[in-house]
Symmetry: C2
């Protein structure tokens, strides 16, 4: 299983436009694995922890049985993909791709 995770991380890191990744502990928002420097990892971990917490609260206000499964943020400079799981959240930072919206 660990080998599978390493394989996936390797695939992500070598994908076009990927700047970095960080895996964040859901319990405390601390980065537990990352390929970026400490300052960047902590920064993105904090950002994502705050955003997923707010999203969860807002979504469950609407429907207590619903749950965030995926979050994608685009800014002028970056695109941040967030995939929360039970204990950890995967965060990938990449250069913005294609058009602004896939609609």
């Amino acid at each position: 299983m660990a080998a599978q995770i390493e394989e996936t991380l390797k695939r992500i890191q070598t994908s076009d436009g990927v700047i970095g990744f960080v895996i964040v502990s859901n319990a405390d928002g601390i980065p537990i694995k990352s390929n970026m420097d400490d300052a960047m990892s902590v920064r993105y971990a904090g950002l994502v922890h705050q955003l997923t917490a707010t999203s969860q609260v807002e979504i469950q206000k609407d429907d207590p049985n619903d749950k965030l499964t995926y979050l994608r943020l685009r800014t002028k400079h970056n695109e941040i993909l967030v995939i929360p799981d039970k204990h950890y959240t995967m965060v990938v930072i990449q250069k913005p791709t294609g058009s602004r919206s896939p609609m």
Copy 2:
């Protein structure tokens, strides 16, 4: 210009899987146009207003010159697309499409 907006909204509403849309005023989070009932419009407007505000604050902590241009949330039941502009934010609610992540 107004006709162009109406045309775009019509196109969105008739797209596959679209549940509804709401246009939210950035100043106060109030829905100014929607094709859903009042309760739903107010609920999504509130959710999105809260999320985009949090996102902006977090993004600008990281880089004061950066700005949210697009936000996509997937939950177990819905997918919410958020496109903020200067004065208004466009929100489209649709049924989740395809796989969990486009990565």
